[in-house]
Assembly symmetry: C2
Homo-oligomer: 327 residues x 2
């Protein structure tokens, strides 16, 4: 993995992915006690940064391989990112999803032309066995959600944009907070910033009780979570950092930050009130850290990546009911 791969991905994404805006509000600056900038990846195609990695990986395949089709495992945003990238390339996609995934995410993935194969996670069905059988039978290429170089390269294009947009705002030093699951986005951003904005230091942000990356960074080895359900931040509940991503995180990131589910709901409401964007709980973790854990952060400015906005209405209403009065 290196900056050249990210630059090459940026060329393939040109005119395909959106250059999402870097938003701000004096009200958020006041809460945080420093300037706060939000990279609004919820406005990306398919509602999350995952479209970048999906497009990057699908477009990097040779055309014969690509024509045979794509396979992915995902309960959510990666599913939609890959499905849409395959659809726009005119190639088939099979997405293996747990049958208890959010209904809207399943429907969206189908609406993007993918064949959705459901499996029973509670009943012990093995998604890898299902996927491997399908891939062999049909010659599909598996696109992993984070431990895959072209996916990391695609997510890293977010970092190229942050570097340029921060410079436009006069921000040369500070911390870049990234909602972190397996570390694909965080490591991609870290590589981009190392090359293009070395004064900006990335830091992963995770939900309480699912802080495998923070613990791994402390211990120096890959640490795992005990569970991958039990927080509303479904998008970033990953078992452990990846074998490709972890060494990059270790080399380039500051210590991990941890936020509560309640912090995330509060940040969702703040983004609604002050930025007019919709963020899902897992996509609000970085902003939550910026706003409600200011003492854990250094510098005059902080950049938080709002990674996705694929939230069901009842969860959004829960955030507004609790914090929509601006308190």
């Amino acid at each position: 993995m290196n900056i050249d791969m990210i630059e090459a991905a940026a060329e393939r994404l040109q005119g395909r992915a959106r250059r999402t805006p870097l938003l701000s509000s004096p009200f958020l600056d006041e809460i945080a006690g420093r300037r706060v900038f939000v990279k609004a990846e919820c406005l990306q195609h398919t509602g999350s940064f995952k479209f970048r990695g999906g497009w990057s990986a699908v477009s990097a395949l040779d055309s014969q391989t690509r024509m045979r089709g794509i396979l992915a495992f995902s309960s959510g945003n990666h599913a939609q990112g890959v499905a849409r990238a395959a659809q726009l390339h005119g190639v088939p996609a099979v997405i293996v999803m747990p049958q208890d995934a959010p209904h809207l995410k399943i429907e969206n993935t189908r609406a993007m032309g993918a064949e959705v194969v459901l499996y029973d996670r509670a009943g012990g069905e093995d998604r890898h066995a299902i996927g491997t059988a399908l891939a062999e039978e049909r010659g599909l290429t598996l696109i992993k959600p984070y431990d895959e170089p072209q996916v990391i390269a695609g997510q890293g294009t977010t970092g190229l944009e942050i570097a340029a947009q921060a410079a436009d705002e006069g921000v040369e030093t500070g911390q870049v907070l990234v909602c972190c699951g397996g570390g694909g986005l965080t490591s991609g951003i870290a590589l981009a910033l190392e090359a293009r904005a070395p004064g900006l230091r990335p830091r992963p942000v995770e939900p309480e009780g699912f802080d495998d990356v923070a613990r791994s960074l402390r211990s120096g080895g890959i640490e795992r979570n005990n569970a991958v359900t039990g927080s509303i931040c479904d998008a970033i509940l990953t078992d452990a950092p990846g074998r490709l991503t972890f060494p990059i995180l270790q080399r380039l990131c500051g210590p991990g930050l941890v936020v509560s589910d309640d912090d995330c709901l509060r940040a969702m409401a703040a983004a609604f009130l002050r930025l007019k964007i919709v963020i899902e709980p897992g996509g609000a973790a970085a902003l939550a850290a910026a706003l409600y854990h200011p003492d854990a952060i250094e510098g005059d400015a902080v950049i938080a990546v709002a990674t996705g906005g694929n939230v069901d209405a009842p969860m959004f209403i829960r955030a507004l009911d609790a914090y929509g009065d601006g308190a």
Copy 2:
């Protein structure tokens, strides 16, 4: 009013206003039966396009006049746009607001450093008398919400961006739907499109029962509404088109479109689900027309301006409760 004034305003706004994104979603295209693009002015500073006109007008004053301060009448978005522009220029602003204006809008205007003078609209207090007395006493300059050349020029910069962004999307002909109150934004966009994208035809969109602009365009003379309250679209409930704006609308716009409050709630939910942006009822009128009145529109593509996002949580919850399941 001409394109040169809009270009000059664009120069003054450079690096100050955001170039808001032109968003889209295959799901919205499917609802409308044509390509739908949304100019997301809810992401503008202060949460609406009004910052453009506010900055344009404040920055166009000679510095001695500006230093004495600014006066505006407004219950909402113009108040915030002017207050923020004055704050960033370091000059005083007095905003005369009805005491029954939304609490959040009053608080935001105060938080942007303005002195808010409340008056009792029900009790018959005359805001013009209050404002005129203050302006004379302190030497303040009044910035009108729409019938003011530098305000129209500022709003018109939205049209310059639409022209360029539509060209990037390969859209050269089609209709541009604009949520319309007094016509400042619509006339500014119309002038910009006339010069930069003559294949794009602007059309004003208004709430049922408050369609003064549509009726005025039909009759050829300025028609008034019977009331300026009674719809949830508070941002665009204006008495009548302006003396400056109406001739421009008459020369350049297609027929007006009318939407119901319920259409607007439904469009707010669609924007939440598909675009991940927050729109207020009056800012959703154009998207509502694009999605739910497709037979009244012509062309393969339509552009809807989402003019603002300053909505209280309870109203947003109302939209999600009714239409947040994607129906």
